[in-house]
């Protein structure tokens, strides 16, 4: 029970004679129930990889397997198993009302009217949108953050087993970001397997159980957040940041403050609190 990528290579033919190798021999297994974060520099191939997970793009060579079966052999079967939320998904909204827009996916699945309504309702609940209040509104009257949640609900209403999110928090205000991250966490706790692509290391630190680092179409490293975020120089070689908490703890350690290396803000706060309780600046 997993999504497996086996030697997946994808070549875009942008112009005649101009080939871009966006994915280069990728091997990756996404285990059921995990929350994997995909990080990497701009153009490293993250979005391309994401579109392979539900068969929107076909590998130029290699295979994508779900539960051991090739996804491209039976694409219609797996289309609804893997929900893909694109970058800036609010630009895909098109219906007159929020409800209708969210119902688009379930309708395409051929569900009954009752089932569709049920799903729309629960998807809206999941992302914290009020069914009575917002359901009949036009999606274009909503704020950017609300629109994004409507778009997310549109994918969740298909109740996919796997959810792939391409930079879901890009361009949101702190509050919208906070809500969205909480939604994702909640979904994960309810058993959905999640792959999240993000440029925000803070989001990744807060959410991820496992991180895969991509560079130029390859996966160069996978590991736990603790493992990845402690490799400061490796990440900066990849053109990536570390979470704010990591950065602060590095700097404090450099100054001789005796704390552990932390990548989560809460963890660092606890650490500092302990330090202060035990007599403040105890030197190294």
């Amino acid at each position: 029970m997993a999504i497996e990528l086996k030697n997946v290579t994808h070549v875009y033919q942008a112009r005649v004679e101009m080939n871009i190798v966006a994915l280069n021999n990728i091997d990756l297994t996404i285990e059921d129930g995990e929350l994997l974060a995909l990080i990497g520099h701009t153009g490293s191939g993250k979005s391309t990889l994401a579109q392979h997970l539900n068969g929107l793009l076909k590998p130029t060579s290699g295979k994508v397997l779900i539960d051991g079966e090739d996804i491209n052999e039976n694409r219609s079967k797996y289309r609804f198993e893997v929900g893909l939320v694109f970058q800036y998904p609010e630009y895909q909204l098109f219906e007159e009302t929020v409800k209708k827009d969210i119902a688009f996916g379930p309708k395409n699945m051929g569900l009954t009217e009752d089932e569709i309504n049920q799903r729309v309702k629960s998807a809206m609940e999941l992302v914290g949108l009020n069914y009575e209040e917002i359901g009949e509104k036009s999606p274009f009257e909503l704020s950017g953050g609300q629109m994004r949640r409507v778009a997310l609900a549109g994918v969740l209403a298909m109740q996919p087993r796997y959810l792939v999110l391409d930079e879901p928090t890009a361009g949101l205000d702190p509050k919208g970001r906070y809500y969205l991250l909480n939604d994702i966490k909640r979904l994960h706790e309810q058993g959905t397997t999640i792959v999240i692509i993000s440029h925000s290391m803070d989001d990744v630190a807060w959410l991820a159980e496992r991180i895969a680092v991509m560079e130029r179409g390859r996966i160069v490293k996978t590991g736990s957040p603790k493992d990845i975020f402690s490799q400061y120089s490796f990440l900066s070689d990849m053109g990536l940041d570390v979470p704010q908490a990591s950065e602060l703890s590095y700097k404090l350690i450099e100054k001789g403050v005796p704390i552990k290396n932390c990548f989560k803000l809460e963890e660092l706060a606890d650490e500092l609190q302990n330090l202060l309780k035990n007599g403040g600046k105890t030197g190294a």
Binding site: G83, F86, G105, N108, M158
Partner: protein
Amino acid sequence: MRDFTLGQYYPVDSVVHRLDARSKILLTIAYIVAVFMAGNLIAYIPILAFVLLAARLSKVPGKMLIKGLRPLRILLIFTFVLNLFFGAGEHILFELGPLTIRDEGLSNAIHFTLRLIFLVSGTSLLTLTTSPVVLTDGIEMLCSPLRRIGFPAHEMAMMMTIALRFIPTLVEEADKIMKAQSARGADFSSGNLKQRATAMIPLLVPLFISAFRRAGDLAMAMESRCYHGGEGRTRLHVLRFQKIDFYAFVSVTLLIAAVVLSKNLINLP
């Protein structure tokens, strides 16, 4: 969708790229005239030679030009079939049930199809070898004598550049929206005509909204950079006629001469 080469610029350095934009526009017009004057099949030979020569000199890969015709294939087939079976003419060449092919129909079918192919490939050579900015400059300068009679040459040219500039962007956008809706199970490629038309709504609505948003943003960006029309604007690239422009004019004159000659000297359908 991405195969659409009409209106795309192919940035390499070649003789054709270096031609003055004004010459290229005039040449293209002359070429279009030649295509329409072609009275018989022989006349297409010099036209074909002209396109091949221009394509060769421009260093644009032939594949790219042929790809540019692909979006037109349905139109081409329509043109051919409609003319073939519904054309007039005295002699019936072929008859099968309700389908008849008459001589004039056959010749029209061939003419119109060839004409379309030559028009599209010739004009896409213009845009493939001329960057939109330079192209507009050319159009604007060619039209500027008309300003005296109140023709808004600069504004027209600017509108055309913007339209050309946004074709690839909109194609890319359409591609993205299509993928996103497919991820929600939208099906763009099956069903009858009505179902297919309905299936386009989830694509077209977001596409229009984004086009309007882009237009608004662009207008704002232009205004904040003090754009106020053509009055008193100077150019970054000043166009100058050179020797190659002269050769180009000679070649297109030869083309027209060849087409006219073939029409008058040889009597073929």
